[in-house]
């Protein structure tokens, strides 16, 4: 009955460093007792990490807080900048743009969500401002402004959150030093053999090229796209989503920073995919995510180099991937976290979030020391949650593609007419007819996120919530004007993102562009 006096500690073995590996190591080390759990991480300096996940979501802050990291120090170490959202350029059609902010649009009046009031004023011909103008985070981002959200939750300056852009390689290194100082055992080496229990099929140990054999009770596969243990050894089936998300390659290259430091990620639609732009303190990260069905690697490389802000720092690096997920992320005594469990293109900066969510679930469901084998009930719950996370993000990513007016470009023509997941088709129908935005309690994304992309992609609903009509049009106009003015006045008094970084967390030797807010 008592589960607090195990005979020996439970051995967690993480295969693979990188962001997923070191976040897992640090997260587990911080939350589980050292007497009960040992954590060993095997990585090889010869194997590069993918590190496209340089842009994050606001959730990362709670992970860092849980570890007890000092924010300014973490930002210095990882050359980080702040992020208020993602700017999507040319996604609906060339020349258009919108920001998906980490924040709310307007506020509900009379118990009715904001978009209904906005639409009503629009349909009545009383409105000349886009939905974007009613989001504090959007207006601040457009102004290249940054400050921490207000702690007074009633303030308009509390209607947003923030995330970071950082160098994922430096973040992994930072967590590595944090974790190894706190008892995580790091082993340098490459796994060349895996031994399994002949009866249960459980993993017993991995053998390194050096001959060293590392036994474990639970193995976390953080080996990236290779999915060395879960896919390779255990053969868990792959669910392919290429028919919904045709992009299957990326080219990545950093360049010199030029101009003001933007507090947002930029994703620009291109004929065969999209390019990202991630501003760090010392450089700008860039990449072209594309579909090999629609463009050659060489043409994609040329296209990427042609759109950089500054001089490239090196030759673009090619990554191949398939969108989709392993049908079970937890199988036997092996749990895959990060790219080993699945891949979704970094359009909404979800990779690190998925890692973080998996760690939180794993800590809750971690087998106890002394437990015989893995309890399938715990694995089943982990897999249920993981599937829910992936599917909700998938629908949101697909949304960016389906609603486009880039006619005549084969990729964009294909995605505009492809059959959709039922769950997404339903959400689109509901929004198109009556501006009702999907809402759910668990997983990504919030109502405001859906709203920003639905409207941003040019979908204007036919109708709005009847209950919005309870307010008279003149008083609605006053409310709308008042809200927009409050945002403008407050944003005008914010400091620029560059200046904020320079005083708060600039890394030694880095000169941050400090241009005043535009």
């Amino acid at each position: 009955m008592k589960d607090d006096t195990p005979s020996r500690p439970f051995r967690v073995v993480i295969v693979g460093g990188g962001t997923a590996g070191w976040m897992s190591a640090a997260g587990i080390r911080r939350q589980l007792g050292t007497e009960d759990y040992t954590v060993t991480l095997i990585e090889s300096d010869e194997i590069g990490t993918v590190g496209v996940g340089e842009a994050t979501l606001p959730h990362i802050k709670s992970f860092n807080d849980m570890l007890g990291l000092d924010e300014a120090q973490f930002m210095r170490e990882t050359r980080a900048t702040f992020k208020l959202g993602i700017q999507f350029r040319d996604w609906d059609r060339p020349g258009d743009g919108y920001i998906h902010p980490f924040g709310a649009f307007g506020e509900p009046w009379g118990g009715v969500e904001f978009q209904h009031h906005w639409l009503r004023a629009l349909q009545a011909g009383r409105l000349h401002y886009s939905l974007q103008d009613y989001s504090y985070a959007v207006v601040a981002a457009r102004d290249n402004a940054f400050e921490f959200p207000n702690e007074d939750r009633k303030s308009i300056r509390a209607t947003y959150a923030y995330a970071y852009h950082f160098d994922a390689g430096l973040y992994a290194a930072y967590l590595r030093s944090w974790a190894t100082q706190r008892g995580v055992h790091r082993i340098e080496g490459r796994v060349c053999d895996v031994s399994r229990d002949p009866t249960t099929g459980d993993l017993l140990a991995v053998t390194l090229q050096s001959g060293e054999r590392i036994a474990g009770d639970l193995f976390i596969d953080c080996s990236g796209f290779r999915s060395l243990l879960l896919g390779g050894v255990l053969g868990v089936a792959w669910q392919d989503w290429t028919h919904w998300l045709p992009c299957d390659r990326a080219l990545a290259v950093p360049c010199r920073s030029v101009g003001a430091l933007t507090p947002y990620t930029r994703a620009t639609a291109r004929p065969a995919g999209w390019t990202w732009r991630i501003p760090l303190q010392h450089r700008t990260g860039n990449g072209y995510v594309f579909s090999s069905q629609f463009i050659s690697d060489t043409a994609a490389r040329d296209a990427l180099l042609a759109v950089l802000d500054g001089a490239p720092q090196g030759e673009p690096r090619l990554l191949r991937f398939s969108p989709g997920r392993r049908e079970r992320a937890w199988c036997g005594n092996c749990v895959a976290i990060g790219l080993a469990s699945g891949f979704l293109e970094p359009l909404e900066s979800t990779s690190i979030y998925l890692v973080q969510a998996a760690i939180a679930d794993l800590v809750k469901l971690m087998p106890r020391p002394g437990a015989k084998g893995t309890d399938p009930r715990l694995a089943a719950e982990f897999n249920r949650l993981n599937e829910m996370q992936y599917e909700r993000i998938r629908d949101f990513l697909v949304l960016h593609y389906v609603a486009n007016r880039r006619h005549g470009e084969p990729l964009w023509d294909y995605v505009r007419s492809m059959p959709l997941p039922d769950s997404l088709a339903h959400k689109l129908q509901l929004f198109r007819s009556r501006a009702t935005v999907p809402n759910y309690q668990y997983g990504l994304f919030s109502r405001d996120s859906w709203l920003s992309v639905l409207i941003g992609q040019g979908i204007i609903p036919e109708g709005y919530d009847r209950l919005a009509d309870a307010c008279t049009l003149p008083s609605l106009e006053d409310l709308l004007n008042g809200f927009r003015t409050r945002i403008q006045t407050n944003v005008a008094s914010m400091s620029s993102h560059g200046a904020f970084i320079a005083t708060y967390c600039a890394a030694a030797g880095v000169v941050v562009a400090e241009e005043a807010a535009a």
């Binding site: 589960d3 607090d4 668990y442 109708g463 009847r466 309870a470």
Partner: protein, 500 residues
């Protein structure tokens, strides 16, 4: 685009609470935007012994309807309910009484939720009952109301429901609806004319008056006059999961000191529930007709309630959900949409959910309602099924002896519930699911109360020492003890509220 094709008239057909709570909510929300609400009231199916037992969210709906709590309780003779006391009188080994309260169990310790801390202590031999850490439950068992203040708010949630004598509640709702501007027809009988597309075109009331509308709400309870009898939408039976097929209702004289909770007493052949209020105590006995005759049920209920029963009525129960709760231009709410087992008194809450979601999806324009219908059917089925699961858990895990309980335990459980129970047994975690009516704390109280001891606890709690837990537990228990002493006795509070 909203405009000329706007839907301007909604017709609600039904009786009793389903009709009148629905009409109130539609009038309050839609009146200001120019939608006329027509109520077609059929003869009542209520008995004087009926008591509506409600869940905490009803208070918020009442507020939107301009219903004042003091007036409501004064005019109906209703009282407060802080939860359900489940009293194990016929237990198998290990069956204990427990309280399912509308409030928080314990308070977080060092940033960790209370339940896994309690579980660790329990697994290490601390003999502390979970319900003793619930301020609301302790107040209830001491016959007191719980009035929240800053300290209790910092401690955790403290909510309540009501016990409302139903006939008085309905008449209160009806007069309120008329104040809110509904158009009323009191009728004996309604028939339906459908158009070629299978939607409702016209209602013919009492054989002559023709009532037209664009949208019809079926609030006719088990009769399902529109959605079932006219449109032919079938029921999906939940019989396989529930044994109860007869429900006796009756009343006994009011208690001299009115307990602020409902009491559920499992007997060898079903269970008896007492719903105290200031007019009388409502008595319900739920049983299976094959195992117990109506006469024997009456005898059992009399014994369990300890007093002579008046106004006795026996009614059949057939748990099911309507295959589609929005069909054509007809939306079913309350009993015509879903018929629940009587345990945990969920009917009124399910009605409230049906109404609130109808308002959230209220059609923009008259027409096909395709998107609204698809979403309403999806979300209501999800809500109804989560409620069903919570009810089903009570029977699947019941630690009581007797043939009825033996049968209940052997019935299959729906798959999401099976997963939920399995995870709780394995780890003491409540699997998060969308559209839950009952909070994780309700699930914990229920599952622990029914005797499940999880086989392992959260590893993250290992870092909190047993000594630390002991200190925190003592602090919480002392807080509860002193807070409960500050609370007014339920009777005294009711008296002062109703005089105000």
């Amino acid at each position: 685009m909203n405009g000329d094709r706007s839907l301007s008239r909604v017709v609600v057909v039904g009786r009793d609470v389903d009709l009148w709570l629905g009409v109130n909510a539609l009038c309050a929300a839609l009146g200001p935007v120019g939608v006329q609400v027509v109520a077609i009231e059929l003869p009542t199916g209520l008995k004087p012994s009926d008591v509506s037992t409600t869940l905490p969210p009803l208070e918020a709906l009442h507020t939107k309807l301009n219903i004042q709590e003091s007036a409501l309780l004064r005019l109906t003779g209703g009282s407060f309910s802080l939860g359900h006391n489940i009293v194990a009188v016929s237990g198998r080994r290990g069956a204990r009484s427990f309280f399912h309260a509308w409030g928080a169990y314990g308070a977080p310790i060092d940033g960790h939720a209370f339940f896994p801390c309690w579980l660790k202590a329990a697994r290490n031999g601390f003999n502390l009952s979970l319900q003793d850490f619930c301020l609301t439950a302790v107040a209830a068992r001491n016959g007191r109301m719980l009035l929240p203040d800053e300290a209790t708010a910092a401690f955790g949630r403290t909510d309540y429901g009501y016990h409302l004598p139903t006939i008085a509640y309905v008449s209160y709702l009806k007069s309120n609806a008329i104040k809110l501007g509904c158009k009323l027809h009191e009728v004996q009988d309604v028939s339906v004319e459908c158009d070629a597309g299978g939607s409702i075109a016209t209602l013919i009331v009492d054989g002559s008056l023709r009532v037209e509308g664009q949208l019809f709400v079926d609030a006719s309870g088990a009769d399902a006059l529109l959605i079932g009898r006219s449109l032919g939408v079938p029921e999906n039976s939940w019989r396989a999961h529930f044994s109860v097929d007869r429900v006796l209702s009756a009343r006994t004289p009011a208690f001299t000191a009115i307990p602020p909770f409902a009491e559920i007493r499992p007997t060898g052949a079903g269970w008896t529930a007492l719903h105290p209020n200031r007019v009388a105590t409502g008595v319900v006995h739920a049983y299976c007709g094959n195992l117990l005759s109506d006469a024997a049920a009456l005898e059992l209920a009399t014994t369990a309630s300890g007093a002579k029963l008046a106004d006795v009525a026996c009614r059949p129960a057939s748990p099911h959900v309507r295959a589609r709760v929005w069909e054509g231009n007809c939306v079913a709410v309350g009993g015509s949409a879903c018929s629940f087992d009587p345990i945990h008194n969920v009917d009124l809450h399910a009605l409230q959910l049906g109404i609130v979601h109808l308002l959230a999806l209220f059609p923009v324009v008259s027409g096909q309602f395709m998107a609204e219908r698809a979403e309403y059917n999806r979300i209501m089925h999800s809500h109804y099924e989560r409620i069903r699961d919570f009810q089903c858990a009570f029977y699947a895990l019941a630690p009581f002896s007797g043939e009825f309980w033996q049968q209940a335990r052997n019935q299959p459980v729906p798959q999401p519930l099976a997963q939920k129970i399995a995870l709780f047994r394995a780890r003491g975690e409540v699997a998060p699911m969308e559209d839950e009516t009952f909070s994780a704390e309700s699930w914990q109280a229920l599952l622990v109360g029914l005797g499940i001891t999880p086989e392992s606890g959260s590893p993250a709690i290992d870092r909190i020492s047993l000594g630390r837990l002991n200190d925190e537990f003592r602090r919480i228990l002392e807080f509860i003890k002193s807070k409960v002493l500050e609370q007014p006795p339920h009777d005294r509070y009711l008296d002062s509220l109703c005089r105000s």
